[in-house]
Symmetry: C2
Subunit: 354 residues, 2 copies
């Protein structure tokens, strides 16, 4: 019997990683119904949209699910950095025939705040996960008062200890292989971050709370390997990107299935924070990691959005964030239930719970 | 029964990673006698010293062992780059009271060549491994004609395919967690390199020859995880650095046991090629990766050597290459046989061979 699965009333200790921008409740429900933990990423949803998604989940399944939030600090506008970024992109606007006046401004992703806390209180998701640390104590307390099991990601041993000390009920060891945004919140020095094979055992040895393995895990063998390393549970993201229930765009789906997917990099071009994606034209030409002045997360998104839309419409991912972990070979264009069941064969040594 | 162990007449499919500069035959013999594959790194030995080491191995054990060579191209001297490097280091020379005239020049490590090939022919090591690709065809042919099983490291899928095509009998998947020199030889773009959890399954899916897992594997759980991922064999380096038979320096041993060991980085300061070591003063102050002009591998070593010697004598690792993988917590100050036996508990699902 796996204590993590038992605690969360799961059949298997598998978490579908929340992936903002490429999924809504359909993926959450499909995974949770299979007996693993489906996740709903809230970061890119307005409060109204989030309420609709939560209502849909509650209408469609009684199984536990995970509601995920970003908890970065909202940055002040920085007109100089935003202007510099737009200026850098101007030749691309010209090439694609897009009017730079279309570049928006503002933030594409909101941190966990009052409205979100109220929705957590109203809907009572069994699990709430945070990325980029934890929210301020008063907000976190509101979440914990609902009885939610609280998860957050650590990229280093220091972050893992901090999360345990500040109220996380379990810590996700986010290995460097993982796709999407790095979850660091104590240090931006990327060289401090390690691969799953190295990070997970170090966290497991140091923490009392359960540790969830994430990063590079894409099939049953990967799940078995993570459990052999001592993980209490396993989180898988990239492998779900081609599933029927994901809203992954056609250019993103094509990229994941192409030879280019073998080469990912950490880039801050798309949002202002480092995230792992398949190397594409804008990453190659501007370099994946841009130093100051560059708009702070998430304000870098606005200036790229019109280019992305124009290129995307022509079937090109040259300006899209093609988030992917370093192991895209687990991606399968199947229903999420089938993928979840295939992944859970990695738990063959465990008795299923419930 | 594990086919790799059977093929090489090993009890267990475990390879002690060759670690130039921190071991001689004593470690090789201790590991091989335990039933795993001990390795002897030849890169920093003169032909005479190498002959002595090989005679010692042959005198002390009849078990199979691995003889490892670097096969980089010997760079032409580049006086301008070497002068620039020395100039950068001048303030440290002043601080330590060392005369810059003591800075040597020349190469600290020789690539596999005529003399080495003759020693392979004379001693017939059962396994010969290469780092940085494979030697030129005529030299490789001489090695293969002895019946040696040939190994080399790949950091990407492209390199793995290349090695298989050019005569490697097995390929080491060198995950980004691994300590010491990165083995890349087709591209110097470090962003192409992935963690073990992602690299190993991709190589295993693409190759016909056996795949050896390396990088971040430090204890029996790591060994079991690598085997669960599909590895045919496992290579462990860092965990051996504190063993009685290793020649690891006192400052290096101290660093591996300190809190600082949690933070490693890839650096080209010490040799001219990227290698993973514990972040120390010179890496912090100069930045770990120095762009041109910087002497090509291995010619960067000469200018640092007097600083290293002076600091080392004072018990400081400020200028030493403190090679380590990202998972130093498997390091144990025990006889290598004890560490090897502990690691091999990760093979509990395998029948031991012979």
């Amino acid at each position: 019997m796996n204590a993590f699965a038992q605690r969360l009333s799961l059949r298997w200790p598998l978490i579908q990683a929340p992936m903002a921008g490429v999924q809504l409740h359909a993926l959450t429900v499909a995974v949770s119904d299979t007996g693993a933990l489906g996740s709903l990423p809230a970061a890119m949803l307005s409060p109204d949209a989030l309420r609709n998604e939560l209502q849909a989940i509650r209408a469609k399944t009684a199984k536990p699910f995970n509601l995920n939030f970003f908890c970065h600090e909202e940055p002040a506008p920085d007109p100089a950095a935003e202007a510099a970024w737009l200026a850098t992109l101007r030749p691309y606007y010209a090439e694609l025939g897009v009017d730079p006046a279309q570049a928006g401004s503002g933030a594409s992703r909101a941190p966990f705040g009052e409205a979100a806390a109220s929705l957590v209180e109203a809907f009572g998701p069994p699990v709430v996960s945070f990325h980029f640390g934890l929210p301020p104590p008063a907000l976190l307390q509101r979440v914990k008062a609902t009885g939610a099991f609280v998860l957050s990601s650590a990229t280093t041993l220091d972050e893992a200890r901090w999360l345990q000390q500040h109220g996380a009920d379990a810590v996700i060891a986010q290995g460097l292989e993982a796709g999407g945004h790095r979850g660091h919140f104590l240090s931006g020095d990327l060289s401090r971050q390690a691969g799953t094979m190295a990070l997970l055992p170090q966290l497991k040895a140091a923490l009392q709370v359960p540790v969830v393995a994430a990063g590079g895990i894409a099939d049953a063998a990967g799940v078995a390997a993570a459990m052999a390393l001592g993980a209490d549970a396993v989180q898988v993201g990239t492998a779900y990107l081609l599933c029927d229930e994901a809203t992954t765009s056609p250019v993103h789906r094509a990229a994941l299935q192409g030879e280019a997917a073998v080469h990912t990099a950490l880039t801050n071009l798309f949002t202002g924070r480092p995230a792992r994606g398949i190397v594409n034209r804008v990453m190659r030409e501007l370099g994946p990691l841009r130093g100051a002045p560059h708009p702070a997360f998430p304000r870098a998104t606005a200036a790229l959005a019109p280019l992305r839309a124009a290129a995307d419409a022509r079937g090109s991912g040259d300006f899209s964030p093609l988030w992917s972990g370093q192991n895209p070979r687990g991606c399968r264009a199947v229903p999420a239930a089938a993928l979840t069941q295939a992944l859970c064969r990695g738990f063959d040594n465990l008795e299923p719970h419930s």
